[in-house]
Symmetry: none
Subunit: 220 residues, 4 copies
DNA sequence: ACAGTCGGGACTGCCCGTTATT
DNA sequence: AATAACGGGCAGTCCCGACTGT
């Protein structure tokens, strides 16, 4: 502390920017957590990846947990929104949009092996940490709401069969999606994901109203 | 016990029984791992739960990993066999049997929150440890084979629609099942599992051939 | 406070008074350091005690070390001057004065347990930081000079035995004094200090010239 | 943890020997603490000096504090015993023995600057940690008892003046000794220690009975 | 076959000093 | 002069597994 090691700072500390620092931390943490799980991820590695020091991190986040929460709230939720909510909101035909989302699933090996970030975190932490559970549940909820709303909207506009229950159908879709993601992560084979895409698309097609039936819907 | 202070351990070492010791370890490990994940589980806790000491454990298993592998190969595989393979083998009507299995899903809170042991382990370890991945993949495979075989068999016997692809259908079933288990684990609400049961049963019912229309079904 | 949201700090910043701020810092630092040692003292605690903020402190002092130096130069040196130099300067009989000082030693528990501020700092830092060492050495020196001067003066005026060496005697006195302070700090018993007082007074009495034997004393 | 970094132990762990490990830790800790004080000493440095890892240390000691306690109880107490108790026990003439001890004080620069290990620790920690205080107090006590016993014994054997109070005299001796050690540590000059030796020897000589006046000394 | 002490080492996050920024 | 941001050392925890006995 004193006495011996008297060293003056050498390299300049690279222009403070709290927001950037925070964002870098969240992104780096997301990457590490995606790779190793929350508990398996090393704070040191996150720090290195973010180019940030411990002191800075513990200034922005109380502890590793708080950082993990931010990852769910920001990074993971953002990804899901971008992948599902946005396309659905912008869509004319909800089923086309959903099929588009399913077809857009990445088949890149790292994504196949990595699985779904949301499901990973949820599976790992739900039973262990209520904070994580609540946050991941919220993301699931938002996702579910977006899909259900799209279906409901589709029904109103005659683009989705009248008999289906939007909530149940949305849940089924999400469950099947996550299930295939899990199986693919385990098998590590893109063909498993492809099978999932095929099955999901097939399923989604069954949700369209029968042509020439009640109300005379036109295909989009 | 004679002469100088030479005393034999008083408490008897509980009648050596290697097989029992091993089994106790595997069961205790299964429990701990189910609760905390493989990496989160504490060898000490497993030992305590099994009433076994370190020396004993490291006699039977090279390391924690080896114990984990045994948990997959024995405990987890056993559970899946008991829950799926056995009912299916004994079944007259494969769809009835599958519906029976789905209906038998435990709604007990600890199971809802705990999720599916197989999926848990697979999700946690697939990306990190090839040994775990292979072993869980094998269990998934056996499961899949059993379901597919039942469906195939059902087709032959006219109890399952001819158009379905047994392999794809089995995969879909498993994916949806695991998906619902994941969602339930996250939501911690039995009603999510109930929704899953309902949806799966509904789906299974669609696999039955149309009555009185053998061989003439139209595509949906 | 007009127009757009331009607001001046509402709570007044307590009437800037650099000198007061500085003094408050030195006093608070003295207190903290006396309690916990220099390295053990927490800058935050000093700040709180002084009712001053970090920015203010680092305005007045380059770093914690500089504050510590000021504590030695100002607070500690001041205390020693007040306790030793002043009484000695004003004294008629130096031995009476010294005895007075010894008798004035505080027996209050916090002082017994706290020890001598000068010795504390010197012991803690001498080997670790040359700046502290030099500064505490200077205070010791001033102290020593004052005692030695008093003895020398006493000799001239026939109030102190001729044979004694003022420098050596002063050193001995200081050493014994600090030694007792150390022992008392360790034992935490006032009676140890009392023993020191008694011994020192006894010793000081032996420094008086033998009555009626001016100039003819034999050494024991 | 798992998955990636699979490394098998390479270097053999150097033949277990708990007692050696413990002793190495205590000795290394003594060195570090002597150099930097207890709070200033770095556990990592101690570990490096001892050639021992953290795990080993925290197996033998609950925490840094416990290691520090062992240093007092074992290393410091041992040094004092060796330096004072042993010579005194073996002595014919207690005063000769004490003078011998004083004359044996090391004048080596590192010892001058380092001060007395016992006093260092006592000064640093007495006010902060009751455990340290008690332990150092015990060492002081043992020391005091040995000196007092020697003086008492000397009195009985006519080698020490009858009028002196062994307890008070021992305390005075110890106080003066520690005082000089403190001053020397601060001044960093061996000549200060030499002055101390001279003064202490002179003082010790005054404790001898007057020659040819056995049994008839006057009170001072 | 089993008991358990010993030891290895990665990792967290606290703490605290300091420096930009306002 | 006040506060937010940052740098980083370091204690101590955790937990695995080896090795010595019994």
């Amino acid at each position: 502390m004193l006495g011996s090691g008297r060293r003056r700072k050498t390299g300049k500390p690279a222009a403070r920017d709290p927001a950037r620092t925070r964002e870098a931390l969240v992104q780096a943490a997301f990457g590490e957590i995606y790779r190793s799980g929350f508990r398996g991820s090393d704070v040191g590695a996150i720090l290195r990846a973010a180019g940030v020091t411990k002191g800075a991190m513990y200034h922005h986040f109380d502890d590793k947990e708080a950082l993990g929460y931010a990852v769910v709230d920001e990074a993971v939720a953002g990804i899901m929104r971008e992948k599902w909510q946005s396309p659905l909101q912008a869509a004319r035909d909800p089923l086309d949009a959903l099929i588009g989302v399913v077809r857009a699933m990445s088949l890149r090996p790292e994504h196949v092996c990595g699985g779904c970030p949301l499901n990973n975190l949820s599976q790992e932490m739900s039973a262990l940490d209520e904070g994580f559970r609540k946050r991941t549940a919220k993301v699931f909820n938002d996702w579910h709401r977006a899909v259900a709303a799209a279906l409901r909207n589709g029904k109103l506009r005659g683009m989705v069969r009248k008999e289906i229950n939007p909530d149940e159908t949305a849940t089924f879709l999400i469950a099947a999606y996550e299930g295939y993601m899990s199986l693919a992560k385990n098998s590590q084979e893109p063909k498993m994901l492809r099978a999932g895409q095929k099955a999901l698309v097939q399923y989604l097609e069954t949700l369209r109203p029968r042509r020439g039936a009640a109300g005379m819907e036109r295909r989009s």
